[in-house]
């Protein structure tokens, strides 16, 4: 009974926030609704018992995506009024409404037609998990059984950053991203940026480390690291490095490169591509996760602060 009330309330809140995100005319309010929606979606994942997905949803789906959207909203602020004037006509409204309704109906029909109980590979995963030496089945799936997919995911992040950097004006190529911020000596933001990062960095590393055996992992840990770096940048305590710096680029590709090397070494030392040598699976997985945590942290923060906007020498 209490489950019905709790879960019912959660579903109602999530649905109304989803509607609010779409219906609200004000961009800032829509983004706020979207961030809260992501947080509640995280709670829903907790209720479903998927702590790993909940952490990822809260950190990436809600946190970093919210920061990216806010940046986009600030960039678009001046052009928004002009876009409001040129609202699409009634016919365009009707057609887009019909298309959206058709897609929603199609999705709903497909979900309702899913076989029950759903086909599951979970027993097979639990059976083979000891071979990977990690105790968290999600990490086992991500870094051993479906390593190829996860490798491509880490590559996609770097490619996204390359696309963002592609927006740089020619004259500023190799420059520093983000605005130059005056270093203030006091104020709540500076205080926050001084006190929070030590705790946050520890928490990020903890999430990566615990990921082998408990919910957590490189994406969740890396996101927290990215948030801590963003905080110090926002407060003006540090300045963003020029994008031409070699160490920065090395940090960006460290994760995918380590992953690829580990995958390729499987051809020599184990049974094939992305196979780990028996008995050494856990060290290899930890090495990949450690390098990926750094890369994800650096890449996410650089994604959020955008393309270079001023010369390298300020």
């Amino acid at each position: 009974m209490s489950d019905v009330v709790l879960h019912g309330g959660l579903i109602l809140l999530i649905l109304s926030l989803a509607v609010m995100t779409v219906v609200t005319r004000d961009t800032f309010a829509a983004i706020t609704a979207f961030v809260v929606y992501g947080m509640l979606l995280g709670l829903a994942w907790v209720a479903l018992g998927s702590i790993d997905v909940a952490l990822t949803e809260a950190a990436l789906g809600s946190g970093i995506t919210g920061a990216l959207l806010l940046r986009a909203a600030v960039c678009l602020r001046d052009k928004e009024a002009a876009a409001e004037v040129r609202r699409p006509g009634r016919a365009a409204h009707r057609v887009s409404g019909l298309v959206c309704a058709a897609i929603a109906a199609g999705l709903a029909a497909m979900v309702l037609m899913l076989p029950d109980p759903a086909p599951s590979l979970a027993p097979a995963v639990m059976e083979s998990l000891p071979a990977t030496q990690v105790k968290n089945p999600v990490t086992g799936v991500l870094l051993a059984f479906r390593a190829w997919d996860t490798f491509l995911e880490t590559v996609v992040l770097v490619l996204a950053l390359v696309a963002v950097w592609g927006m740089t004006p020619d004259a500023l190529w190799g420059g520093r991203p983000g605005e130059l911020r005056q270093h203030a000596h006091d104020g709540p933001l500076v205080f926050l940026a001084r006190v929070l990062p030590p705790v946050g960095v520890m928490l990020g590393i903890y999430l990566f480390w615990i990921g082998a055996d408990e919910p957590g992992g490189k994406f969740q840990g890396g996101t927290i690291l990215a948030a801590m770096w963003m905080l110090t940048l926002l407060a003006g305590l540090t300045d963003a490095p020029p994008v031409s710096r070699r160490w920065l680029r090395a940090a960006m590709v460290a994760g995918p490169a380590t992953f690829l090397l580990a995958g390729l070494s499987g051809v020599v030392f184990a049974s094939g591509l992305f196979a780990y040598p028996p008995g050494f699976a856990k060290p290899v997985i930890l090495l990949i996760e450690a390098a990926s945590t750094v890369s994800i942290g650096v890449t996410l923060c650089l994604l959020a602060i955008g393309p270079p906007s001023r010369p390298a020498n300020r």
Partner: protein
């Protein structure tokens, strides 16, 4: 002993809910940005604390209870800083267009 701990949990969580409720009413009814922030952050921090303290005895391990305390401290810290920032931004906006 466990009954006493359960009663403690119920009392603390109910107290936390009361402050959440009061803070929400304050946010809806108070006239200015600053007073609404005051109602929200003061009452919410208090209620999160009550709920964290109340749930602590129900944790299986001491480290889990400590994690709850850490979460409360982080919430306390970040919401205090965030409310200050919102208040500063609100004051700046008012100066720009009164």
């Amino acid at each position: 002993m466990s009954l006493a701990l359960d009663i403690f949990t119920v009392v603390m969580v109910v107290a936390g809910l009361f402050f959440f409720y009061a803070g929400s009413i304050g946010m809806l009814r108070f006239p200015t940005v600053e007073s609404r922030l005051h109602a929200l952050t003061k009452a919410d921090n208090l209620s999160v604390g009550f709920i964290a303290l109340g749930v602590m005895p129900q944790m299986a391990e001491a480290t889990d209870a400590l994690k709850l305390l850490l979460a409360w401290a982080l919430i306390l810290f970040s919401s205090a800083a965030a409310s200050q920032l919102i208040a500063i931004a609100a004051r700046r906006n008012r100066r720009r267009d009164p």
